[in-house]
């Protein structure tokens, strides 16, 4: 019975408020099969005692769906931005280092404020205009099933921000809106009714901090937990914006 329990060792970067200094604390959590980072954080929350037995405050983080769908639990785990709910301990090297994704403003500990992404979705007109006051089509709009497959892929974006954290050109000193909102612009441009606002979206992407700020490092496509082919859509958007820029130059 004196068998020592296997432990999981965490080094967590903490921060008490948006403007406070970060510091680290270490924790140990009992190992169990299929344990993931969110479940470990829940254990720490139940008993917020550091590795050296010091009582501390519970570590703050965000999560909702626990199945890699909502996007909320994004944090930097061993240097890479990913979803904590899908990060299995068995796949991680110990000690496991958790930090907030500092590309975004930190609210507290591992909790960040991703609202910049939602603001960008507003900028790029990330929706389809159907207000019901006018007839859009007599029949339901059609979409080529091949296009629909691409649209489905992009529509799974959960605004988690992994791609944003990985992107070298997204940071607090740059205006770049980053890969996720750009891919969303492409999604709505593919839609048979959304297409009506394609020009507005492309114009928005040509503003300062738009598409042209991408430096082709291609980290985003590697980081995306939903395997959205971001760089491919960025290249397609390059093609579209180049044409639109020429149209704006010569047709207006």
């Amino acid at each position: 019975m004196a068998e020592t329990k296997k432990k999981v060792h965490f080094i967590i970067e903490r921060q008490d408020g948006p403007n406070s200094q970060p510091y680290t604390e270490e924790f140990e959590v009992d190992y169990r099969p299929a344990l993931n980072v969110v479940a470990s954080l829940m254990e720490i929350q139940k008993n917020p005692v550091t590795k050296d037995g010091k009582k501390t405050t519970a570590v703050v983080w965000e999560c909702n769906c626990l199945e890699k769908v909502c996007g909320a639990c994004m944090m930097v785990i061993n240097g890479k931005a990913q979803q904590a709910c899908a990060a299995l301990i068995d796949h991680l090297e110990q000690p496991i280092r958790l930090t907030a994704a500092r590309t975004f403003p930190v609210v507290r500990d591992l909790m960040i404020d991703r609202s910049v992404m939602f603001e960008s979705l507003k900028k790029i007109h990330g929706w389809v205009d159907v207000d019901g006051t006018w007839e859009v089509h007599n029949d339901a709009p059609r979409q080529n099933p091949k296009t629909a497959t691409i649209a489905y892929e992009i529509s799974r974006c959960m605004t988690c921000g992994c791609c944003m954290d990985a992107c070298p050109n997204v940071n607090q000193s740059s205006e770049f809106i980053g890969p996720a909102p750009m891919a969303q612009a492409h999604l709505f441009n593919l839609h048979p009714i959304g297409e009506y606002q394609k020009e507005e979206r492309l114009d928005a992407l040509m503003e300062k901090g738009g598409l042209a700020s991408c430096g082709n490092s291609q980290n985003c496509v590697q980081a995306c937990p939903k395997e959205i082919k971001l760089t491919e859509y960025i290249a397609k958007l390059n093609r579209d914006t180049n044409k639109q820029a020429l149209r704006n130059l010569f047709n207006k």
Partner: protein
């Protein structure tokens, strides 16, 4: 102007390939005539010097685009948070190297133009030719800086072609991008070997 920032970035990309890239190729080509012997090199230098409207062409077609591309490029590059140690992917290293080689090439080109074209030719009246270059490059430190400057400039150009092909929407799919990436790497090896071989001919 509408789409101002977009156009500036696009012209930045165009200037890199059309003005700077073309000049780099021409320059390496001219320099590599040294492989045919010192007299051959002196002949091609003299032919260039005899070009009509040389100074305006140098300023408008080469000097200004370099200044534009270089200064704006530094402004853009300084905004990046480089993270190849966290995200050690091939393309991210290339992104990082693209910026490092840009800084090196920027300094090298200023020094190269200053010492040879401005102080050397325009002010000092040195005869730029094999003898002079032989003297300059016989200093091992200078030679080393030339090697680094050459490799950086060529890398920045060839790897820049990869970005160019995406920026202009020429390739979009992963296979196409991989092909371009390999092709630009091969081009790097090719052009830099020509350049390096030419350099060694100056100290023979």
């Amino acid at each position: 102007m509408k789409n101002f920032d977009f156009w500036i970035r696009r012209i930045h990309s165009l200037s890199g390939v059309i003005a700077l890239g073309a000049f780099l190729l021409e320059h390496i080509f001219t320099v590599s005539t040294v492989m045919g012997g010192p007299a051959n090199f002196d002949k091609s230098v003299a032919a260039l010097a005899a070009m009509p409207f040389l100074v305006p062409i140098e300023i408008i077609a080469i000097g200004l685009p370099i200044a534009f591309h270089g200064i704006l490029g530094v402004v853009y590059a300084l905004k990046a948070k480089n993270n190849p140690l966290r995200y050690g992917y091939w393309n991210n290293w290339m992104f990082y190297l693209q910026r490092i080689t840009a800084y090196i090439a920027f300094i090298f080109i200023i020094w190269h133009v200053w010492t040879l074209r401005i102080v050397g030719k325009a002010m000092g009246g040195h005869l730029i030719g094999y003898d002079f270059m032989h003297k300059v490059l016989s200093d091992p430190l200078t030679f080393g800086f030339y090697v680094i400057g050459l490799l950086s400039s060529v890398f920045h150009f060839t790897n820049g072609l990869f970005g160019f092909s995406i920026t202009w929407g020429i390739v979009s799919g992963p296979r196409g991008q991989r092909v371009v990436s390999i092709a630009t790497l091969a081009l790097f090896v090719l052009i830099s070997s020509v350049g390096l071989t030419a350099l060694t001919h100056f100290v023979k």
